[in-house]
Amino acid sequence: MDPTTLVSKDRLYPVYVWQLPVRFYHWINALSIVVLAITGYVIGDPPAIQSATEAAFSYWFGTIRIIHFIAAYVFFFNFIIRIYWGFAGNRFADWRNFIPYTKKHWSDMWDVVKVDIFQVVSKENPRLGHNALASFTYFLTFLAFLVQVLTGFGLYSAMSASWLASLFTWVPPLFGGDLTLRYIHHLFMWFFILFAVVHVYLVFYHDYIERNGVTSSMIGGWKFQEEGKVEGEKELEK
């Protein structure tokens, strides 16, 4: 018995969706955001330690901050590479996926809302790459990245002599000073936490309902689609 028949009446068609740089980007990004959020939260509200030690014997808070700054650099350059890949990568990585500048993108988004949130059962096939709503959400996260990079390096520029940090010295005056900057930086941390929760849930949801291997696709790069329904199947075959 052909194993594919066990899965569905139609043959499943594997498509290589996420190229290696995209997968690397995703996991480095995820890891650095987790590190940044945890260390950032600790920096904002350090745990109370009653201690009789002298300051000379301990440096844990300084270490937390250094980890935060290093993770910030990783996050920053990783994102720069992803922007580059938005121009150099395949059609699923293309930057045009993310910005809803066509009517079609907006109507696709509405379809996703209907199917995934209002739970209308659809006959349509899910998009292979990011769905329309997801890609728009990622666009919003890119904006949040930008805010965090600007406010974060803006704050950092006061305590660093590095050329990269000094590129951001114009940021604090724009916001009227570090007070506001720090506040915005802290506020946006919560955006990342909420995003992560919803993101992981939806990945599991899609795997459960659509069964196209979305979860593992970010590891191996392959997604599965019923034969004859893959968008752009013809070109892919070549």
Partner: protein
């Protein structure tokens, strides 16, 4: 005004200071300005040979704490010669003439020293209701400042009021209190931040203008870099405790006695640019953190609206007094969790057919496939 102008040196001698006092003062000023020791001579020479800078010192929406700070400068010469003499031209608080005479001396200074005098403004400018909230001699403060700034060499914005609006500009800012840089253009404006600024910083800025005949180097917020390029946090002597994660929890705990870092008490030192940690206050006696109180960020724009003073994170607007961003974030997290649970349940109910159908497929569809 026509009588011969005296130099600072001559004035100091008249006041009974010795040459030694004078040299000490010059050295102190050079040090405050961050100059090399070889520049002491330059400062002394300028004070010896140059006649005083004419200064018009205006008072608007303010509490006069900048003047108070200035006359408490660590070196008596500062008050005696810099303030006493420079401010003779016009300052509502300390000048001798009154009424029409006073207004005349203001006009005289403007015409006699066109382009040469320094305009020092203490206080913000109210602009709501045509500026009626601050009128002197029948003119609004806005008009007065505009007239006086027109022919000034430079404008010194004393303190947080003139630099950023301070408490009167805090929400909802009923009088429309506005800092100087938003009202005046085309003149160099120096924001001497703080509530009040440190006396030696104020004197230092004036001495710089006198010595070099130029405006000190400013940062992007128009503050003199010599005094405002570092955060209180960077020069704070409690900083090793910060890095070691040793924090005061309440004003009366053991950690407070040990002199740990005041970060968790709401210290704004990490976001405040000022020279307190280096120069300290009242003749270098102490500064707030040294006496166990967190920095409230008095030299930052909007420090009243970024309260409370004893918590590091500001209130989240629109959610009541006790709401920080963290509480709101946590609330949203719970809402999200509930939403996702509901979604997971409805998914299993509404899409059951989809889920069930596919499961049965291998058996039912097998014949079709072959």
């Amino acid at each position: 005004m026509s009588k011969k102008q005296k130099t600072y040196y001559e004035m100091a001698m008249e006041k009974g200071y010795s040459r030694r006092d004078f040299m000490k003062f010059s050295a102190m000023m050079a040090a405050l300005l961050g100059l090399e020791s070889s520049s002491i001579g330059q400062v002394a020479k300028a004070l010896e040979t140059k006649t005083r800078i004419p200064v018009i010192w205006l008072h608007g929406q303010e509490c006069t704490c900048c003047s108070e700070s200035f006359i408490r400068s660590s070196h008596p010469l500062v008050a005696d010669i810099l303030l006493d003499k420079i401010s003779l031209d016009y300052t509502e608080t300390l000048m001798a003439p009154a009424g029409h005479q006073a207004e005349k001396s203001l006009q005289d200074t403007i015409t006699n020293y066109k382009g040469k005098y320094v305009l020092a403004v203490e206080g913000s400018i109210p602009v709501n209701n045509n500026g009626i909230y601050c009128c002197i001699g029948g003119k609004t403060f806005e008009q007065i400042v505009e007239e006086a700034a027109k022919d000034a060499y430079a404008v010194l914005a004393w303190g947080n009021c003139a630099s950023a609006g301070c408490v009167q500009a805090a929400k909802p800012n009923p009088t429309g209190a506005t800092p100087i840089y938003k009202m005046i253009s085309g003149k160099p404006i120096i924001n001497v931040q703080g509530c009040p600024p440190i006396a030696e910083v104020m004197a230092g800025v004036l001495v710089h203008i006198l010595t070099f005949g130029s405006i000190p180097e400013l940062d992007r917020l128009r503050r003199p870099k010599a005094f405002y390029s570092r955060r209180v946090h960077d020069t704070c002597y409690r900083r090793p405790n910060f890095d070691a994660g040793l924090f005061v929890q309440s004003f009366d705990d053991e950690n407070a006695k040990r002199g740990f870092c005041l970060y968790k008490m709401g210290c704004k030192g990490p976001v405040t640019y000022n020279a307190c940690g280096v120069m300290e206050w009242n003749n270098g006696t102490s500064f707030p953190i040294k006496s166990g109180h967190p920095c409230i960020g008095c030299s930052e724009a909007g420090f009243w609206d970024n309260g409370p003073f004893y918590r590091h994170l500001s209130d989240f607007p629109g959610f009541g007094i006790e709401s920080t961003a963290d509480k709101v974030g946590l609330g949203l997290g719970i809402v999200t969790g509930v939403g996702l649970t509901a979604h997971a349940i409805t998914t299993n109910v509404r899409k059951r057919k989809l889920i069930q159908k596919d499961k049965r497929q291998p058996k039912t569809e097998k014949s079709n496939e072959s």
